[in-house]
Symmetry: C2
Subunit: 351 residues, 2 copies
Amino acid sequence: MASSSSRTIRLAVIPGDGIGPEVVAEGLKVLDVVAPAHGLAFDRTSYDLGAARWHRTGETLPDAVLEELRGQDVILLGAVGDPSVPSGVLERGLLLRARFELDHYVNLRPVKLFPGVETPLAGVKPEDIDMVVVREGTEGPYTGVGGVLRKGTPHEVATQESVNTAFGVERVVRHAFEVAASRPRKKLTLVHKDNVLTFAGDLYQRVLKRVGEEYPQVTTDYCHVDAATMFFVNQPQRFDVVVTDNLFGDIITDIGAAIAGGIGLAASGNVNPDRTAPSMFEPVHGSAPDIAGRAKADPTATILSVAMLLDHVGAHEAARRVEQAVSADLAERGSAVRATHEVGDAIAERV
Amino acid sequence: MASSSSRTIRLAVIPGDGIGPEVVAEGLKVLDVVAPAHGLAFDRTSYDLGAARWHRTGETLPDAVLEELRGQDVILLGAVGDPSVPSGVLERGLLLRARFELDHYVNLRPVKLFPGVETPLAGVKPEDIDMVVVREGTEGPYTGVGGVLRKGTPHEVATQESVNTAFGVERVVRHAFEVAASRPRKKLTLVHKDNVLTFAGDLYQRVLKRVGEEYPQVTTDYCHVDAATMFFVNQPQRFDVVVTDNLFGDIITDIGAAIAGGIGLAASGNVNPDRTAPSMFEPVHGSAPDIAGRAKADPTATILSVAMLLDHVGAHEAARRVEQAVSADLAERGSAVRATHEVGDAIAERV
Ligand SMILES: CC(C)[C@H](C(=O)O)[C@@H](O)C(=O)O
Ligand SMILES: CC(C)[C@H](C(=O)O)[C@@H](O)C(=O)O
């Protein structure tokens, strides 16, 4: 429904590397169609961050740019990473820096099999795969704490530390309870490895129990991460909402993407639920340099991330429109090979 | 072929908890048939370790028992863990203590789809899933290093440290190259998360490169753990031999079990290749207390672990006989439900 007065939202766009710019273009194409129809105007600023900038200036996410980003309402990111840059430089310096600095403590990753989408699992129906993974985004093994001693010698020691705080665990667990309470099944599964990582696992368990008392309508259970990966493959129906740490969440959401039709469809939101800084939406996939610039990337994950972005800014009707357009496109997609922009056009047309 | 003189091997048996004793009984049944036919005699000692002992005495793996185990040639373990014991007590105190004290630095886990076995993956053939995961077994995030500060308060901090040494990484990577060099495809994939866990990942990468120079016939590649879990599901053909750290190995071998027909078939060896202490063979599955004592457990994983044990003590012909008997049984198994001892009987008969 078009409205006469429109609300303006400041949107930062970080196309990034590889297929990033291609898929972001399609996400914006869809946004440009749906926004005015729902009384929204996006005031866009594009940020040139990624491999090219690093080569040119040695910068990944400079302080000044970070400050500018803080002034935006929301961020859309394509993908970062390039083989010409040492592994970790852009991931840690740009992507993780943004997640940590902007306090994206909830990394929201829906795992949903849309009708018509092929899954590698035999005999699985769309209603069998419909979950949301709530991945912690600001601590755990992703802190970067650790180091190396006697590098390059036979006596080298390299450490990585997982740091988990009551503060950090409680806020993400509470958010997961909220998500679970809002869904029909109202089931929350903690995924961890508490029989080996006893200190961190015990903290998660105690917080789950304590916060759970405030949500009597939500059933909770626990699953070791190794067993969880197995159940994703042979009993995905087990899961409704999953809460887990930063590293386990990274791993299980890739299996989630695989079972729900591939990484080309997996959307995500790096969310700051307290809105003390802008949230950032991005496809789960990487920059895929092998297919970059050849119009081969599937922009669907980015378009679904745009739907999550719309939900985040309160434009729920617009978000549903985008989701429905994607769903309709997927249902009729079949095995036809389409160029990146053709997929974007088709979805934009349906919106 | 029966031989007149027989070699005696000291075998420690730890049946453990839940279904452990049931599956171990079938493993020993098969061993009893195959051993004499190949000139082997197993001198068995059974160790009462697990939940019952912990409840009775508070002990998990007492020093005196550990010393006795050191005097054995090889160990067969069922499973440990029971809901009546706090999570981690038996896992850390018994299973991991044995792995660490007996220096089981190679945790060998074949992932192989036998003909006739149902996989949850659509359109996958046995030749598509045939790999060996070489999981590091004595360091990484499994060290138990870490702790908790201000427990139970809003200011609690819980840490877990992954400790990785050049010594530890080099020996497991070297072993993985040996395994890869002995297989037709001669391909070794390092699985890690070097873009986030930069210190540990970089150590693994440098060691892979350096040791790889001694194995020019082996091709190497690298895969992030999150992508690897996805490829296990939608491109398992990618993998031949995988080398990875203790935690990533735990996770990916459970997906490996899932795609290769389930945890009831997954065998493993905790191997000390230098033979400074006995190696320990065990099914990948846990104690499954929910089905314990009801003859419902599948002993196949334990029987395949017995085959690995036979290989380890040099009885390769006997190992092949057991594997072939399992393979033949699996090919004809269909969907018939058989009791634990019926499966053991059927395989023992074929040996
Ligand atoms: C690129 C990498 C740092 C990132 C992560 O590990 O979080 C990615 O895998 C993801 O899941 O968003
Ligand atoms: C029981 C547990 C400690 C163990 C592990 O994490 O190594 C198990 O999951 C395995 O894979 O053998």
